[in-house]
């Protein structure tokens, strides 16, 4: 048996997640289909094996959170905190994602075909995020490592208090956050954007993107700044 289906209209979510945490690790079942997710929270959280999970509908909070080596595809929208704290693997949302998508992700790739809400990639710690649409305000707030490719527009305060994460935006940026700045695209940036777009299955010219990175002025306390940042 290569694949298995869980209908959340008749099966408790816990049964699905326990299967993914235990039996799935034996590798006998490689694909799991989730029917009638109906906005349930915590679908396919904490994967720790290369299983493929396909969610047929809208997912609630934290779908694919803490993912390690798994692949989660959501054929619908995702609620708050999709792929939060992902370590590796891939989470792909075919619809839109709510707030805090990819929060604190340490690794892996989060792809959102539609728009993402506010605080997308907040505190990113090494994961990659590709958004086909636009992102809301305060995205990449305090992002420490990793990359974000935004094919649409960005809201207010993009990259506020950014550390070493790098953001690429194709559309307009409503405003940059403190210590974030637009920088010229180098060869490596063009290659990075091309690679991430190709992994996400999106077609854009990397040359259309702007690079946003930290000005690094907030790294050290400056007593002379008089709180004017």
């Amino acid at each position: 048996m290569d694949s298995l289906s869980f209908d959340l209209a008749t099966t408790p979510l816990r049964e699905l997640n326990q299967f993914l945490h235990h039996e799935a690790k034996t590798g006998q079942v490689k694909q799991v289909t989730v029917l009638n997710p109906d906005g349930a929270h915590n679908i396919a959280v904490g994967l720790d094996c290369p299983v493929e999970v396909e969610v047929h509908g809208h997912a609630g909070y934290y779908a694919g959170g803490m993912n390690k080596t798994g692949t989660v595809t959501i054929l619908g929208s995702a609620g708050t905190g999709v792929a939060e704290n992902m370590m590796s693997g891939r989470v792909h949302v075919k619809g839109f994602a709510s707030n805090s998508a990819g929060a604190s992700a340490h690794g892996g790739l989060l792809v959102i075909d539609g728009d993402a809400g506010l605080r997308c990639g907040i505190s990113l710690k090494g994961g990659d995020v590709v958004v086909g649409g636009s992102v809301g305000s305060f995205s990449a707030f305090m992002a420490q490592a990793g990359r974000m490719v935004i094919c649409g527009d960005a809201g207010d305060a993009l990259g506020d208090s950014l550390y070493e994460a790098v953001l690429y935006v194709r559309g307009s940026i409503k405003s940059l956050g403190a210590d974030a700045q637009v920088e010229p695209m180098g060869e490596t940036d063009l290659a990075t954007v091309a690679d991430l777009l190709s992994q996400a299955g999106m077609n854009h010219d990397p040359a259309e993107f702007k690079r946003i990175a930290s000005r690094r002025e907030l790294y050290h306390w400056n007593a002379d700044a008089n709180q004017e940042y």
Binding site: D38, G39, H58, S77, G79, T80, G95, F96, S98
Partner: protein
Amino acid sequence: MCGIVGLLVKTPALTERLGELMVPMLIGMTERGPDSAGLAVFTAALPDNERKISVYSGLTEAGADFNWLGLAHDMKAHLGVSVKVEAKGNHAILTAGLDPDVIKRWIKEHHPRLYLLSTGRSIDLYKDIGTPADVAARYDFRHMKGTHLVGHTRMATESAVTPERAHPFTAGEDFCLVHNGSLSNPNGIRRMLEPRGIHFETDNDTEAACRFLEWRLREGDDLEAALQKGFEELDGFYTFLMGTPDKLALIRDPFACKPAVVAETDDYVAIASEFRSLAHLPDIKHAHVFEPAPEEMYVWTV
């Protein structure tokens, strides 16, 4: 945390099924708000000279055994008009062709512990403590009919768990508001409104938002202008859903701290804090589902 739900239907067939569609929406928000629940239903408007008043007797000694027919009898004797009473336990809707202020003054004088929930030509209002399923069963929400409604499940953070502090809040006539979030300047709003003669009934932060917006409407603002002033004056976290005789309106604070999702089809507009309260609705798989943006006004008309 709290849950909000709203439903506006566009066909006569769904008007008949409004309550049946709404109850699973409300129960779906139980985890977000298990303390109390409430519902405002908007029906076809009464004639110009009539008003209906939703009244709650749960704070009286008789509670659910309150003698509603006796009340109607006394009102007829004192005020000289017939009052129609539709009672369900601790709740009744009183309808009469009389200035509502006269009725309210009479009730306050003769039954000071009766709590007035709403006044208007379209609005019926129910709210009480208990789980959403209990409250829905208590008032038979399943059989309610109307064009649109606003519902709420409460997990109290800003004031005590009592029926008066449950949502929806009302102010003036045919206006109600539910809130998920917490305001940081409700007392400033109160201090601004009270000298203008606006009376508050609880210490709840949401009541300040409700009375502020209703005051703006009464001062002549249209709904959009009133909501714009709300963005300027109300500070804190909020998703607000409001009902008027022909509209539902939704706004979220600039940080979108509190969730909301909308599903729209040719037949209805449904709003909830989370999609799990919308999943059962007819033809939901083909609905346009979206997340309302922060600091935008969403207004749907019947």
